[in-house]
Each structure stands twice: as structure tokens, then as C-alpha cells.
Symmetry: C2
């Protein structure tokens, strides 16, 4: 891996002078920074800088800009769509050392953090404050990365996604300039919504170096439950009705029988191996009791079995840990396999139809793909388990994923509810947005990054 | 008013040929379209086209683009910041005839509408569906205009603003191209968030010709109340604590004693002329009972008086009608006066301080300015009542408004919570966003509207 030669010597000299041993071209370090948790082949950067401040990020970007060298921000490495792959070479800026919680303001229900703070670290820092940060994509992702990919996860059905959670940011632009977006005011009508433009831009318009995020009061009461169903259709119908009735569930997750099998093996649980919903309800004691009753009525109407509450915090943690481990548990179903993970999201009225058509399609392929997801938002994943060396299976999985994305888009949905476009889903951008909207996106990219240096090769098709 | 001569003859000929008597250069019609509800002097467009379809808007914009003539979209004319003023001349596109509710999908809690549908018309169309559209800026604004100005209002504390309410849009760009933004999926991580970019862009990046908005289930139970307080500070402290406790109030509005006086005169009510909070609580019967108790405890802790529930729908309507009429009621305090209306929004922890400092400041000026606002969001208005011909008073009011905006920005807030920048608040853009962020906004404007034809002279300082 001859990564040394491709960076201009002046640049490496300047970076080494400025950052000492926090700048490296070590192939092992570069290799580690050129991959994520997806099944995509690695594409290492040519150098890595471990930045500690906004000014340092600005200095790196300014230097790289002068040399027309790409820059890619790195947080926790938990991306699933190749966001970190240095497909055009360049310098990776590792932000994991920017991991300070800068301030927590309980009175305003907000906190300011550096981008390398992970969601678990933020919640640990909030311990005792009576507040929590609800966005939970499963992995212990960095908050900067979560903003960059517009992440969401299990709690989004009630608390929204990163789109709703970020109030303000500091962003380093392509030429090294530092800007502030937004304020700590809860709402504003003052000009273009730069915050929402950088949230979900996957580092292609700028690098987020500080974020102010909304917090929520810890609910007085929490109830969690699992319930097995005779069919996926019965489980999905339960979800759809819960949403349509306006029951303010905090989490409502579907796992198919195969996912449950995987979880039982991995997490040593003994759940019935049938389509299962995981619920969590937040509120006052009376509110949770009311939601509980409404959910129980729906569940029994649709043939739910083994309805089991987990009232104690330890039980709840075990349950959600099992849910969070589902990705790794599913990988364990086919040793040596990696997952090509789909991420469609459709209007809730189309969810049952989309899942049924996709399962029919899957059955015709012979592929193995556990299904799970944040069905309260109409978002579900199929983990297409394939051996990366089995080209035929990989091709079949890609074709399946393409049909699924096309199906969701045809149902007024999106090819990605929460993982982002990255490398692999660029081919759906025209289909989902139309050529004219894509031209508008390209114009914005060109305006803010005329030399295409910010995480090039992502989001926009070549 | 010689508006005829300034539009190129080829353009007027083409518009007349295409639109017949739906295109006019009649001075009266032009004058009507060159003003809003602000105190700014009118600036009529040189022609008005009454458009009925997206394709017609595209045709008008294409023609104007070819002739480098500005275009300004017009909805209900209820703007407060000069958004409709044709300060660079050009053609006004009146969208009020695009007033069809295109579809309501109760199962997905969304509706698609043309931009001229007003919020009241949408709620009328939803009658019997069990759903409602909560965003309520007071005036019966058009939904297109509300999106363009990122409007919010009384319900935003619980249901969010137009930022959170728009799922997808059709937008006509500066050269006439038609794009779709977003999908009906509840969330998406697919590329740049064009929807959020056009929401709040005040027609300076494109013209919104269709919107899909979120709806909410009508609450099972609603309770409304008013409560007078011994001081503004006591009322504001009550609000701050309600928010910090996470009580999910649907509306929590402050009116100072002078506003109540104005309302009593205008709406023939007999409210105690003291600082007053208007509350509305939404939820299940048990949930509302719980919220009610929590609010009552807070209110009595802070010396609340005359706590009065309005349980019957007619009483509630009367109450909120009085609140909505407050703007007109306050104008009635000084016959002949217009209002220079401020719109700052600050973090809730700074709200009491910001209001106190502003009232102190006001007392030193001798200006008359009732204060009211959506204090649950940290947003309040002062209606500076001045005779537009009294240049000294007008100057004093402008200086006061500037100090108030500066105070809010210094408190991590914004100069405009919901009215938008328009003409009058452009001078605060650098102070609020910084020069570098403003440069990024200009780059986006330049990328999408290189000839500066879309509502020119708004948002961005010259």
C-alpha cells in the first residue's frame, strides 16, 4: 500500500510540521481509516491527521485546499455506506479526539459537544441531569457523524432524527473558513437553513466541528415489552394502527423470525422465533399506563403472543442491548459473511405492502436476509448476508437491493431512511429526486466546494 | 403610477397572450400586490399574473428569466416583513387561485396542497377526518407563504414550525425548471435537504407550487385556560418552568397588561388587565388532567390569579380568537398608527432577562408597545405603535427594534423567530450569522439564482 507518494511533499511536510506525530501516513492507520462497517472494499486515505480543535481542522482543510487534496472527516467509523472511503485519495481528519462535552444547559434542554463525542458518552455526561439525548442508531456513533449522515434509529418515531435534533453547528468550509450555523433559539426564520443543509451532507459540503443538540427530560415512567406475532403482516398491521391512532410510542421495532433466531444465539435469549415487536413507552406513570393499555388492545386484536413487559431497568437494558446487537447477531448467522444492508423508508400506509413484496422477492432469490427495522417510521432493513468472495451471490444481493430501493421510491418513499447515500446508493439519486433536483444539489455542491475536495465521490453520482 | 413602461414589451405581450385577463398591469391590482401587513411603504410590482398550475408558474418564470425580470410569489398577503414588496420591480405571481387540497391521506397523517390553500381552508377540508394541521401564525396565511417564511405561531411549542411540518414540495427554480424535493417518507438520509433549504428562503431561491405537509390526530381532550399574574416576571417564570419540566403544553402565550387592555376593547372581553398567560393542553383525558394539575401547581406557586378554564369548544374558540385578534386590537390602541413588530427568539433561560431589559429600554423611550408572544419557544413580539408620518417616533422605534434584535442575538438568539428577514431585518444578518456564513448563503443564492431574479432584495443585505 504505497500511500506515501501520492500526497504532495509540501503538504506532508506542512502537516508534519504542524501536527507532529498526530499526522501519519502509516499504512496500518490509513487502512483502518479507509473502511467502515459496510461490505464495501476498503479505500484508505493517503494520510491521517488527528485533529483536536476547530482551528486545527481549518488549518488542515486550508492546506489541503491549497494543494487540491481531498479531505474526509472520520468520527467513530460506524458508517454503513462507505462514507469514509477515500475513493479519490486525500487526507482523513480523525475527529475522535475532539470528544469534549463543552456545555450542558439543563434549563434550555440543550448541550454543545465536539463532533467526536459519541451518543453513549453524551448520555453518560448527562447522568444525573434528568435529561437524555434520544437519537440512537444502535452503534455508538459519534454525534458529528450522526449529524453528517442524518442518523436516526429506534427512538426517532417519537423524538425525531438528527434533522430535528441539531440546533446549531460550527462548520469548516472547503477553503478552511469557519462558519456558525443556527443559534440556540428553538426556532428562527432568519435566512437559509444552513444547519439543515449540512446535516445529512455526509461531509461533502463542510466538516462539522461543534454541535449544539436538543436534549429531552428523562421520562418519569418507561415501559418496554416484546410481543411475538403469527405473521409479519400481523405485526406490521399492529404498528400501522398504533401510529395512525397517534399512540406516542418511543420505540416500536420489528424483527422477523430469522433475526430473533440470530439474537437468541448471539445474546443467549429465549425469545419465540417468530416475527416480534419490541416496544418502549415513555411518559408520566398515568400516560404510560394509558399507552400500555392501547398497545395491549391492538396486540391482542392482531394475534400477539407472549406479550412480556420488562419493567425493571436491567431487563429493559438487556432487551435493547439484544436489539442493538441484532446487526452483529445476524452476521453470525452466516460465518464469514458480510451484510449488504438495505435501508428503505416508505409512508406507513405502504409499509405492509413493501415488506410483503420484498419478502416474496427474497424467497425467489434464495438469499439469506433477516429483516428488522424502525417500522414506526416506515423504515426497515434487510441484511443481505453474503460472502464477499462469492461474486454471484454478491451480484444477486445487489440486484435485490436495487429492486427494493426502486420499490420503495415507487411507493413515495426513499432508498435510505437513515444510513445515507455514501457510495453505494448514489445510483438511486436520480430515480428518487429527479434529474432537475439533482442538478440543484450539484449547483450547491459546486458553490460551496468548487474543487470537489470535501469527501468527493459521495452522495452525487459521477 | 406608471408601471406599464418598465416591463419589456415582448414580455407583456407574451404574458397577455398566454394568460389573457389573468395577467394585468392595472395600477390598483399592482398596488394591492406590493404591500403586506407591515408598516413598510408599498412597492408595487409592474404586473401581476394569477397562476393556476405549476406549469403556468414555470412558464411565467421562464419568460421573466429570459427577460431578466424579477418574480415575486404572492399568497395571502399577510407577511409582516415586506416579503411581497417589488423593490426591484418585476412580476408578481399571485398563487391564491392555486387553492386546491390535492389529497388527504389520513393513514399517513399527511396532505398535499397547492400553495394558495390557507391554513384555515386546509383545516376545513380536514373536518371529519380526525386530523388537523396545527401550524397557526394567527393570520389566515397561505401554506405556501407559511413555508416560504418558515412560519410557526401558537402551536409550535408542541407541534414544531413549518421546518418540521413540510415533507415534500414542488418548486419552480429561477430558470423555470420544476423540481421535487423530499418524499412522503417520514424520514430520509438521501442527499441534501432541499426541502429545508426552500422552507424559509422567502421565495429567493424558487417558488413553491405544491406542498406535502404533516397532519396530527385531533387530540381526544383539549383544555384551555387564562391566568393573570402580578408581574411579567412571574408569568415568564411560570412558562420557563413548564417547559423545563417537560409539560407538553400545546400553546402557552404571554400577553402583557397593555395587550389585554387592547383585547378587552377590541373583543369585548373582561379579562383582568394584568400580564396574562393563555394555555392550551392536548392529549388523552387522563393526560390532559395530569398536565392541568401540573400547570395549576406552577401557576399558584407564582401568584397566578383568576385562573379560568374554557372547557367548551365555543369558549375556547372565543379565547383564541381574542388572542389572534391581538395584533389588530393593539393597532386600535393608537388610531392611525401602524405597528413596527419585533420578533426576537432566545433560549428559554434568557427569556425573562431579555423581556425585562426590553421593557426597561421601552420605558426610557416613551414609545407605546404592547408585548405578546409564543413564550414557550422563547419568542415574543413587541408591537411598536407609531404614526407612519411621525418621522421622529418612527426613527425611535427603529432604533429600539435594533437594540432588541442585538440584545437577542447577544443572548444566543435570533432577530426573527417566525416572521422572516424580508426587507427590514437584513441589517441583522451579519450580526446573527457572521460574515462567513452569510458568504455561504450568498454562494447558494448565486448558484440557484445567478441573475438575482427570485424575490430580489430580500434576506441578503445589498
Amino acid at each position: 500500500m504505497n500511500t506515501v507518494s501520492r500526497l504532495p511533499a509540501d503538504l506532508t511536510t506542512a502537516l508534519a510540521a504542524h501536527f507532529g506525530d498526530r499526522f501519519t501516513i502509516n499504512p496500518g492507520v490509513c487502512a483502518h481509516h479507509g473502511k467502515d462497517e459496510s461490505s464495501l472494499p476498503a479505500a484508505p486515505p493517503e494520510g491521517v491527521v488527528f485533529a483536536l480543535t476547530t482551528e486545527e481542522v481549518s488549518a488542515i482543510v486550508t492546506l489541503c485546499h491549497a494543494h487540491r487534496v481531498p479531505v474526509i472527516a472520520y468520527g467513530a467509523g460506524t458508517s454503513l455506506e462507505g462514507h469514509l472511503h477515500a475513493v479519490k485519495g486525500g487526507v482523513c481528519i480523525d475527529l475522535s479526539g475532539m470528544n469534549r462535552v463543552l456545555s450542558v444547559r439543563p434549563e434550555d434542554l440543550d448541550a454543545s459537544v465536539e463532533p467526536g463525542v459519541t451518543r453513549k458518552a453524551l448520555n453518560a455526561a448527562l447522568h444525573g441531569s434528568g435529561l437524555f439525548f434520544p437519537i440512537d442508531p444502535g452503534a455508538d456513533a459519534s454525534i458529528g457523524g450522526m449529524a453528517a449522515t442524518r442518523a436516526s434509529g429506534t427512538n426517532a418515531v417519537r423524538y425525531g432524527t438528527m434533522r430535528e435534533s441539531v440546533l446549531a453547528m460550527t462548520v469548516v468550509l472547503a477553503d478552511g473558513r469557519i462558519i456558525q450555523t443556527g443559534t440556540r433559539a428553538k426556532k428562527s426564520a432568519a435566512g437559509y437553513d444552513l444547519t439543515r443543509l449540512f446535516v445529512g451532507a455526509e461531509g461533502t459540503l463542510g466538516i462539522i466541528t461543534e454541535l449544539t443538540v436538543r436534549l429531552h427530560p428523562l421520562p418519569e415512567a418507561i415501559a418496554a415489552a416484546t410481543c411475538a406475532f403469527p405473521s409479519i403482516a400481523a405485526a406490521v398491521t399492529t404498528v400501522i394502527q398504533a401510529i395512525q391512532l397517534g399512540i406516542p410510542v418511543a420505540r416500536i421495532e420489528l424483527l422477523d423470525a430469522l433475526s430473533i433466531t440470530a439474537i437468541n444465539r448471539y445474546s443467549k435469549t429465549t425469545l419465540r422465533e417468530a416475527p416480534t415487536l419490541f416496544f418502549e413507552l415513555h411518559g408520566s406513570p398515568a400516560g404510560v399506563a394509558e399507552q400500555t393499555q392501547a398497545i395491549q388492545e391492538l396486540v391482542s386484536e392482531h394475534g400477539g403472543m407472549d406479550f412480556a413487559w420488562a419493567d425493571r431497568p436491567e431487563e429493559r437494558s438487556r432487551l435493547w442491548q439484544a436489539r442493538h446487537d441484532a446487526y452483529y447477531a445476524c452476521l453470525g448467522l452466516c460465518p464469514g459473511a458480510r451484510s449488504l444492508t438495505t435501508d428503505v423508508c416508505v409512508p406507513i400506509s405502504r409499509l405492509a405492502e413493501c415488506i410483503a413484496a420484498s419478502l416474496d422477492d427474497l424467497a425467489r432469490t434464495g438469499l439469506v436476509a433477516p429483516l428488522l427495522g424502525h417500522v414506526g417510521d416506515g423504515n426497515f432493513h434487510m441484511l443481505l448476508l453474503v460472502n464477499p468472495e462469492d461474486a454471484a451471490a454478491l451480484g444477486q444481493a445487489r440486484e435485490f437491493a436495487q429492486r427494493l430501493a426502486e420499490r420503495a421510491i415507487a411507493m413515495d418513499g426513499t432508498c435510505t431512511g437513515e444510513h445515507g447515500i455514501g457510495l453505494g446508493k448514489r445510483k438511486y439519486m436520480v430515480m428518487e429526486h429527479g434529474a432537475a433536483a439533482l442538478t440543484a444539489m450539484r449547483a450547491i455542491k459546486q458553490a460551496l466546494d468548487p474543487h470537489n475536495l470535501m469527501n468527493p465521490g459521495k452522495i452525487l453520482p459521477d
